[in-house]
């Protein structure tokens, strides 16, 4: 089974990000970047499929800056076989342009499965996976939380509001993976050492800007400091007055 996993380099959700002086991008100084956590489920699933089959290849593909090689190598350290970086200094805000670049790379690859994380934790767009599926004219199941594959058919479970949806599909297919699908492994130390020696092809890419432009980024408004109106039952009348007159919620 030949599997492509598309991954993205994103800022660690634990680091505090600042908006750059241009007012429409992130200041990357001091920001730690990681493999998008939803993509970890995709990498893990691909590795398990290959391990179960006892044969196959897992190829990691990413669109991003030169530093995204490190992101790809994280997946190689987990056990993927080789990587392809579609290198660009600027990832378009328009997901369709990202999808076009990835689809062009994937189209003649002979992949049985193309996996994505269900979304990237930086832009929350949920769109590149399904767009790539459209461009490749392949079936697509998003937010897969459980997966069975037998021969050339697959069955996926998606968690939907109040229940589980079960979807069957033929291979090849594009899937986006959700939390709960598996428990991603840590890149073991031997894997980290081995990753250095695995092939990582860098292809300069110039994606079009597309139809979207980020014009401004603003941090969420600062929460106002709370105030203590008093203590015990004696504070209740004052609290009620404030809720009525200031907060106007009563």
């Amino acid at each position: 089974m030949k599997i492509a996993v598309c991954v993205k380099r994103v800022p660690d959700s634990e680091t505090r990000v600042k908006i750059a002086s241009d007012g429409k991008s992130l200041d990357e100084a001091g920001v730690k970047f990681i493999l998008n956590p939803y993509d970890e489920f995709a990498v893990e699933e691909a590795l398990r499929r290959r391990e179960q089959a006892g044969t196959g290849e897992v190829v990691v593909v990413s669109l991003g800056p030169a530093a995204a090689q490190e992101t790809i190598r994280t997946a190689l350290a987990m056990g993927a076989d080789r990587g392809v970086l579609l290198q660009t200094d600027r990832i378009p805000a328009d997901g369709l342009e990202v999808a076009k670049a990835l689809a062009a790379e994937l189209t003649n690859g002979g992949y049985d499965l193309v996996l994505f994380g269900r979304m990237a934790i930086d832009d929350y767009n949920h769109q590149v996976g399904p767009m790539v599926a459209e461009l490749l004219d392949l079936p697509c199941v998003t937010a897969v939380a459980h997966l069975d594959i037998a021969g050339q058919r697959g069955s996926a479970e998606r968690e939907i509001e109040g229940g589980v949806e079960i979807v069957e599909f033929p291979l090849p297919a594009v899937l986006t993976t959700d939390k709960g699908l598996n428990e991603p492994r840590y890149p073991a130390l031997k894997g980290i050492m081995a990753a250095k020696k695995k092939p990582l092809e860098v292809k300069p890419t110039t994606p079009a800007a597309g139809g979207l432009e980020v014009v401004a980024m603003t941090p969420p408004p600062q929460r106002k400091e709370g105030k203590v109106v008093g203590e015990g039952p004696a504070a209740v009348p004052e609290l009620l007055r404030l809720l009525r007159e200031e907060a106007k919620v009563l």
Partner: protein, 394 residues
């Protein structure tokens, strides 16, 4: 619990290679996910979290700086140091386990063992299938190992060992012990040699030392060897004199110098978040000068220790490190980490005495680390001798 972000005021990360950072991040995440949730409970109950050994082995943490041909990860010494730092960020007892397995058991087999011994033991130790311990210290010979009274007598078929060892980490858990013994006269330090002794050999017994108020999540034992017979090939052929076990200690001390930075970072991290959240006299205590002085001091000492470790590691990777340089780092870093743990404990006020917080556990642990692998005082004398050329040991 929030993911640990480390402490890096001087962008020391920028001095690390991509692999070194990747190794550090893997161990850091593993500690967050698997050690932090269970450590307080194990510490209180006085139990080593043995169930974590297979996971540590799977990650490749044992003997990680030994070559791949023996089943190890083949990392450089800086990456190895970072592993120790991250493990000790969790708990000194767990770092001690890895130090003993890697630096005090696998290293002597690697350095002084025959090719056959290496091929037999090292892969099994890397996978954690065989756990080892290191027997040098004796009840009456701690800082002065040259005085040891454990003896090994050669017979027609092998060796007979007699003696006792004390303060042996992993002693009761181990499958194999590296025992150091004199093969000649009682005052013949040059006759000290190392032996690989399977712990199920008749006459070998290990008893856990009870009542520890430090390193409670680690097994510490007393070993007794009474007419323990081992085969001829149990001796480490290239071990010769006191220098051999001291070389092992230099390896372990190197890891401890890094490990102490991990403890200090854990405490500093706890101190900062507590100082920002705890309100007293109407504002967070971090807004008071006394606490800010504490925090500034901690950050300064951690930053210095990080740079010290990194250069020490680079020297070691170039094969240029001296035991005295390792002594300086062990001495400085453990001492500063103990101070930081104590100051954090104090900054936390009454909460600081609870196991729910880390500071007092680290503080109690570090009192052992201050004493083992060459006490702080002994390292002072090693440096004193290096500086003056004069021996102040006796």
């Amino acid at each position: 619990m929030a993911k640990f972000q480390g402490v890096d005021f001087y962008n020391v990360d920028g001095l690390l290679s991509e692999e070194e950072r990747a190794v550090r991040d893997t161990v850091r995440a593993w500690v967050d996910d698997n050690l932090m949730p269970v450590i307080a409970e194990h510490y209180l109950e006085g139990r080593f979290p043995k169930h974590l050994v297979p996971q540590m082995a799977e990650l490749g943490l044992f003997g990680a700086n030994l070559p791949e041909e023996y089943g190890c990860a083949g990392l450089n010494h800086v990456a190895y140091g970072l592993i120790m730092q991250e493990l000790e960020r969790g708990d000194s007892g767990v770092r001690s386990f890895a130090s003993v397995q890697g630096a005090l058991v696998m290293y002597p087999i690697f350095a002084f063992g025959s090719e056959e011994q290496k091929r037999h033991w090292l892969p099994k130790m890397a996978t954690g299938e065989v756990i080892g311990c290191f027997g040098l210290t004796e009840p009456d010979y701690g800082s002065n190992p040259a005085g040891m009274i454990t003896v090994a007598r050669e017979t027609k078929s092998g060796w007979i060992l007699n003696g006792a060892k004390m303060w042996i980490t992993n002693g009761s858990t181990a499958h194999a012990a590296i025992i150091w013994a004199k093969t000649g006269k009682p005052d013949d330090v040059e006759s000290i040699r190392g032996f690989i002794v399977p712990t199920d050999t008749q006459g070998f017994s290990a008893k856990d030392q009870k009542g520890k108020l430090s390193l409670r999540a680690s097994d510490t034992s007393e070993l007794v060897l009474q007419d323990v017979c081992v085969a001829k090939d149990a001796v480490l052929p290239k071990s010769a004199g006191l220098k051999s076990p001291l070389m092992c200690l230099t390896q372990a001390r190197y890891g401890i110098a890094w490990g102490a930075v991990g403890s200090a970072m854990a405490c500093y991290d706890e101190a900062v978040s507590y100082a920002k959240a705890r309100v007293m006299f109407g504002k967070p205590i971090g807004g008071f000068q006394l606490q800010q002085a504490r925090l500034a001091e901690m950050l300064t000492e951690i930053t210095k220790a990080q740079l010290l470790c990194l250069q020490l590691g680079r020297l070691k990777d170039q094969g240029k490190v001296t035991p005295q340089q390792v002594s300086l780092a062990k001495r400085n870093n453990v001492s500063m980490a103990t101070d930081i743990a104590r100051e954090t404990r104090r900054l936390l006020g009454a909460n600081g005495i609870l196991a729910e917080y880390q500071a007092m556990r680290h503080l109690a642990n570090l009192e052992s680390v201050y004493t083992y692998e060459g006490t702080h005082d002994i390292h002072t004398l090693i440096l004193g001798q290096e500086i003056t050329g004069l021996n102040a040991f006796n």
